[in-house]
């Protein structure tokens, strides 16, 4: 069943995205954001509530093992003319920066180039180097830097906002 949920146009070499399903209640720690614990009963409620809401959350899945390694939330309040992309990576995932970078490439190309979203925005911590490199490679621009906005084990790092501006819209606005 999970294999059937794989989104073919959001599938990369190491990671793919798929919709969350009720069975994912048993792995809420992997897809639900935040450091606090969530049991299966509460996760089921969250899945049903979020599924009925305006934002879309997709599972990030490791291709090789079909294990959920995180999630991505897509938020738009204007019918996907502008879209915010928010990642959460499972605390147990060691190579989360590489997987998030690959997922960002898939998502931005889909939203900007196929969905014709006008501007795709993503927030990245200043020490997430592979994700930052992916944003630069995609032509995303650094729009904002909030100082010391993210807490790490022994330090604080900035939070960066990168935006992919769709050139098709840019030309029309110019």
């Amino acid at each position: 069943m999970m294999e059937a949920m794989r989104i073919v146009y959001l599938t990369g070499e190491h990671v793919y995205l798929r919709p969350l399903v009720i069975a994912d209640k048993d792995s809420a720690s992997a897809w639900h954001p935040g450091p606090f614990l969530m049991g299966a009963a509460q996760a089921e409620k969250v899945l049903k509530d979020e599924g009925a809401g305006a934002a879309r959350r997709l599972a990030l899945v490791r291709s090789q093992t079909d294990e959920i390694v995180g999630s991505v939330k897509l938020t738009s309040n204007d019918g996907f003319r502008r879209c915010w992309v928010t990642f959460h990576m499972a605390p147990s995932t060691i190579d989360c920066d590489a997987l998030r970078a690959e997922a960002l490439r898939l998502i931005v190309r889909w939203l900007r180039d196929q969905m014709e979203v006008m501007v795709v925005s993503v927030e990245v911590a200043g020490d997430e180097e592979e994700t930052i490199a992916a944003a630069a490679e995609l032509g995303m621009v650094l729009s904002a830097r909030l100082r010391e906005f993210v807490s790490r084990a022994a330090c604080r790092v900035d939070r960066l906002t990168y935006q992919a501006l769709n050139p098709r819209w840019e030309v029309k606005d110019a």
């Binding site: 450091p35 904002a144 606005d173």
Partner: protein
């Protein structure tokens, strides 16, 4: 004063109550300024009642909104709040709304905002705050600069205004910057240079 939490010279902050819903809708109803967002928008007390009740459901709260009241006559004149509170990263986003138009420009908003910032930094012990303002809202941008906020960037095509997409300015503020800004503001008030 009723249930005060933060008290200034002319203004105090108290928890927002469901009974304030009519006051908020009343301010919306007489709003004439258009500089803040796209323009004025009517609202219903019923919607505000639901929102206010919801503010207290989530513990620890992810947003804290105060009623701003004038000490004289105990008049409700708006809201200040911190939203998206993240107690792990110790960050949040501030916002404020004061009305009707005749109460603006008298320094009440600045005083209320300094009380809010004191609450955020000295009571919640947040590390950094952010704020977001459309580029067309130069008045709020100037107010943030006076409160010590630093410009952190521009979010492209943030909203629509005057028939085109406009950017939003993002600001951030650390505690030591706010302390310096508040000292300058208090000094200017003492010197009688401005009430803002």
């Amino acid at each position: 004063m009723r249930n005060p939490v933060m008290v200034g010279d002319r203004v105090y902050l108290r928890p927002l109550e469901v009974q304030d819903a009519e006051g908020i809708a009343g301010i919306d109803a007489v709003e004439t300024d258009t500089f803040m967002w796209r323009g004025p928008m009517p609202s219903s007390p019923l919607g505000h009642e639901k929102w206010i009740a919801k503010l207290y459901e989530h513990l620890p709260p992810t947003e804290i909104v105060f009623a701003v009241c004038l000490k004289e006559a105990d008049r409700f004149v708006g809201l200040v709040g911190v939203y998206g509170i993240d107690l792990v990263n110790r960050v949040g986003e501030t916002g404020s709304f004061l009305g009707p138009a005749e109460v603006r420009g008298k320094g009440y908003g600045t005083e209320a905002k300094h009380l809010l910032l004191e609450y955020c930094f000295d009571h919640l012990h947040l590390h950094v705050l952010q704020s977001f303002v459309l580029e067309t809202n130069t008045r709020s941008s100037a107010a943030l600069a006076k409160q010590g906020y630093r410009h952190a960037g521009r979010i492209k095509w943030a909203d629509v205004k005057n028939g085109r997409y406009v950017d939003g300015n993002v600001y951030d503020l650390m505690r030591h910057e706010w302390v310096a800004a508040r000292a300058a503001w208090l000094q200017s008030r003492t010197a009688g240079l401005t009430s803002q």
